[in-house]
Symmetry: C2
DNA sequence: AGGATACTGGACTAAGATAGTCCCATATAG
DNA sequence: CTATATGGGACTATCTTAGTCCAGTATCCT
C-alpha cells in the first residue's frame, strides 16, 4: 500500500510530542532544552513504554534527537522542528526511501538489460521525496486547524493511532 | 522503505511488456489488439509463469487489462498506455494508497483527540499521489534514453528485477 | 560511596504480510 | 472432443514487523 510502518507512525508521534513539549505546551514556558523521559513520552502519547523506549533509542542515534543519560536525563529534539522534514523522519525509521529495491546499495539487477522500464521509477521517487521535503515536523506539530484537512477520499481525516496492547 | 512490493514491481513489468507488444516491438506491426498469453509474458519478462499468471489475473479484474479466454486467448491492455498512470497501477496491486492506515475505510482512530499531528499526513499523501499521477505507462515503456536517469543516490540507476527462482 | 533514575545495546518471540506454487473449473478454437 | 488458455482460489514457506525484555552504563543526589 505504499504505507509507512506503524513504528514510523509512532516515531512521528514521539517527535511531535517532543516538539510540543519544547514549545512549552505544559506550563507555557518555551524551553528547547526541555528533556522528556521515555516514561513521559509514553504517557503523553499513550504508546506502550517498551515501544517508546525502542523508538527513542533509534531516534537518539539519528541526528534528530539528543539524549542525556542518568537521573534527570531524557530526550529532546536536536534541532528546530521547522528544520526537520518528513523525508528525514522516514529515513530514520525506514532507511533511505526508494520505491523499488534498485537504487539502493545492494542493487544487483539481474534483468538489467531486459528491463524495459528505464529510469522512470526514479522520477517517481523524486516526486515523492519532493513532497516529503515540503513537510516539516513543525507542520506536523501544528494544531489541526492550521491545516484545511483536505479529504481525498471522503473518509476519515485523522491519523489512526492505536495504543499498543498490554498497557493500561 | 516506503517501498512497493515485489509483486507490484513485477506487475508493472508485465504492463510494460503488454504495452511494448501492442506497440509492435516484435514484428514492427502496431496492434493494440495483440493478445499475449501468460506464457508469452513469462518468457518475455523472465518471470516465473505461476507468478505471471497470478498477476495477470489481478490485472484482468482491473480496468487496465482485458482478457480473452480459450485457445488463442490471452491478455492485452484495455486502454492506451498514455492514459494509465502509475497511481492507477499501484492502486490495482496495493489497494488505494495512503501513507497511514487512517484515511482508509476501516479507520477508527482511538487516539483521535490526543493525536496532535492533525491532517499533515494527508498533505503528504496528496504530494505523493500528485507525483504518481504524472507518470504514465507510456513513460515507463519508453526506452531508457528518453529519461535522463537522474541518479538520486549515486548508486544504481536501474530497476532491480530478480527472476523468480525455480525456473531455469 | 551508594542507591535511584534513566538511557544503551541487543536478543528474543509472536503475529502478520508477502511471495510463490498448485489445483480444478470454465471458456473457446479447431 | 481435445488442446489451449484464462478464472478463482487455496495453500505454504519465508520474511518482515511489532512488541517485549534483560543486562549494561552513565548521572544525580544523599
Amino acid at each position: 500500500m505504499l504505507r509507512i510502518s506503524k513504528l514510523t507512525d509512532y516515531g512521528t508521534m514521539i517527535l511531535v510530542h517532543l516538539a510540543v513539549q519544547a514549545r512549552g505546551a505544559k506550563d507555557g514556558v518555551v524551553d528547547p532544552e526541555h528533556l522528556c523521559s521515555a516514561s513521559d513520552v509514553a504517557s503523553g502519547t499513550r504508546l506502550a513504554l517498551p515501544t517508546v523506549q525502542k523508538l527513542l533509542k533509534v531516534l537518539a542515534r539519528s541526528e534528530l534527537v539528543r539524549s542525556v543519560r542518568g537521573a534527570e536525563g531524557g530526550y529532546a529534539l536536536a534541532r528546530n522542528p521547522a528544520t526537520i522534514t518528513a523525508a528525514e523522519i522516514l529515513d530514520v525509521f525506514e532507511g533511505p526511501l526508494s520505491i523499488t529495491e534498485c537504487s539502493t546499495a545492494d542493487s544487483r539487477c539481474e534483468l538489467e538489460d531486459g528491463c524495459p522500464t528505464g529510469g522512470a521509477w526514479q522520477k517517481i521517487n523524486r516526486g515523492i521525496r519532493g513532497a516529503l521535503d515540503e513537510i516539516t515536523l513543525a507542520d506536523l506539530a501544528h494544531p489541526p486547524r492550521e491545516f484545511p484537512l483536505v479529504d481525498l477520499s471522503g473518509r476519515s481525516s485523522r491519523l489512526r493511532h492505536r495504543p499498543t496492547p498490554g498497557q493500561g
